[in-house]
Amino acid sequence: MTELDTSEYADVWVFVEVHDDVMPVSWELLAEAKTLTAKTGDDLVALVIGEDVDGIAEEALARGADRVLVADDPVFEPYRADPYGAQFRAMVEARKPSIVLIGGTHTGRDFAGRVAVPTHAGLTADVTEIDVDDEGILQARRPAFGGDILATIVCEDHRPQMATIRPGVFEAADPNYACETTLEGSIERVEVVVDEADCISEVLERVVDATADITEAERIVAVGAGIEGDLEPALELAEALDAELAATRAVVDEGWVDGARQVGQTGKTVRPDLYVAVGISGAIQHVEGMNKSETVIAINDDPNAPIFDHADYGIVGDLFDVCPQLTELVQERGILEVAR
């Protein structure tokens, strides 16, 4: 294999994911990538792909990107893996970024490989911590084995160094960053290299509701399979506590709660002040997404449920009794407002 001259590669790219709105993880990456460019001296470049996305390009500048690259064409709307992959790949080959960060959403994890494989880039999955060393090598840390292990993945000899980043782990970039620091960036429209005639997939229908964002919630009531399809007791408790509803994957798979509210390895990472786990067993893939919570209360009728090891306070009992009682007690006391 021929050695690659890594010094030809510069800049940190952040992919801005657009489906009507911008996915929150994109702005989280933009803010976190600033900590990398502050060390390396690289430009922070936002990449916007979609149709009629000028406003989003402006927003990326306002949130602190040094430059924005825009690929604007109807072929990119709605999202499909093959045109996105082909366009992104062409841009990477032409411009040689050193680091490329993509949100670890279903979309990001879908097309990232279509960029990394043909460019022979290193692609690290589902990253929760990033840093660069003195040589500009990305140190991408990610949980593995269901979260028992935190592995640091490096890519020394190949470029770009790509990573998909788990949503909800970092703080989002300030929408007025540029105003406050009087930065001025540039927006560049790039050539669109994909043609509808070459596409090998077609979106027949897309049904998407406004998605809930549980990652910023200060209080969460999360439900597990123990609710057996009856959300009522948990919803009432959530309302009494002024909390957001969240769920395990088991509940989402049953269709009882929307997937945007799933907590865990293949869902969101949350860090509320209060996390009430209702009828949740405490599987490692779930705990991984909630163990940054400040205080955890577990309600489960099985005294041996692992969730009690991951809770500060637990009560062994039937959730259909405990939830209404707790709801009533909380209502009697009156709650304090969430400090936002």
Partner: protein, 260 residues
């Protein structure tokens, strides 16, 4: 037109059986029994359902050590037609780039119309192998697939994909790589006769890197990523206090400034 359906399955350490090494106090993964990656059962079921509808054959492949034959036998017991073990010392140290290349070449050699995979594994869980197979071969892909509708006359497969906040229906031209959403497609139990056959008489085909003409394109040397360090994550310290009345839960709610 019937379809050749290829399923990728991987052997992983049994997550429920990973113990603690008494000498080091660390997780002892090496001695955990190896099992089939649970999400791959959903992929096998999806494959068998496609075969039921369209006709054709279901061929299972695993890239792994010789003892990975066990997971192939399991797949045969479920009703798959044939299996290939792709095994070679040259694969050692492979990240997802050469792993998906190997599976891509195997799928091409088997003349696959559809390749089905699990959503991700329970060990390194990158979920990168299915899109990687598609990218190496320039094939279409359908990830997070919850339902499948074959359209053999049009040479297409339609999937209902799970996306943030909803779903979409996407049609892809064959050949296509599908990653089945974990938990969808309830795996059927193995039939008794098939099970006896799988365990006693069945032998998988065995391929090496040379058989796929990729000796120089696999292993550590071509893998862009490397695992630097691995730290055991210390569990977050919790009080783990069991209270005996609902009333007692008010105290933590006061502490967290939820109730007055």
């Amino acid at each position: 037109m019937t379809w050749t359906i290829v399923v990728g399955v991987k052997q992983v350490p049994d997550a429920d059986e990973v113990g603690i090494d008494p000498d080091t106090g660390r997780l002892d993964r090496a001695n955990a029994p190896a099992v089939m990656n649970p999400p791959d059962r959903n992929a096998l079921e999806a494959a068998l359902e496609l075969r039921d509808t369209v006709g054709g054959s279901v061929l299972v492949i695993t890239m792994g050590p010789p003892n990975a034959t066990i997971v192939l036998e399991e797949a045969i017991a479920m009703g798959c037609d044939d299996a290939v073990l792709v095994s070679d010392r040259a694969f050692a140290g492979s990240d997802t780039w050469p792993t998906s290349l190997t599976l891509a070449r195997a799928a091409e050699t088997l003349e696959a119309d559809v390749v089905l995979c699990g959503e991700e594994t329970t060990d390194s869980s990158t979920g990168q192998v299915p899109p990687g197979i598609a990218a190496h071969n320039g094939w279409a892909q359908l990830t997070y697939a919850e339902e499948l509708e074959p359209q053999p006359d049009e040479g297409r497969l339609v999937a209902r994909r799970d996306v943030e906040g909803g779903y979409e229906l996407v049609a892809a031209q064959l050949p296509v790589v599908v990653a089945v959403a974990y938990g969808e497609f309830d795996p059927r139990p193995a039939g008794l006769h098939r099970k006896i056959f799988a365990e006693n008489d069945f032998e998988p085909r065995e391929w090496t890197a040379a058989d796929l003409d990729i000796e120089d394109e696999v292993g550590l040397d071509v893998s862009p990523t490397a695992v630097g360090t691995m730290e055991t994550v210390e569990p977050v310290e919790r009080r783990s206090e069991l209270v005996d009345s609902v009333n007692a839960l008010l105290e933590p709610l006061e502490e967290t400034e939820v109730v007055g």
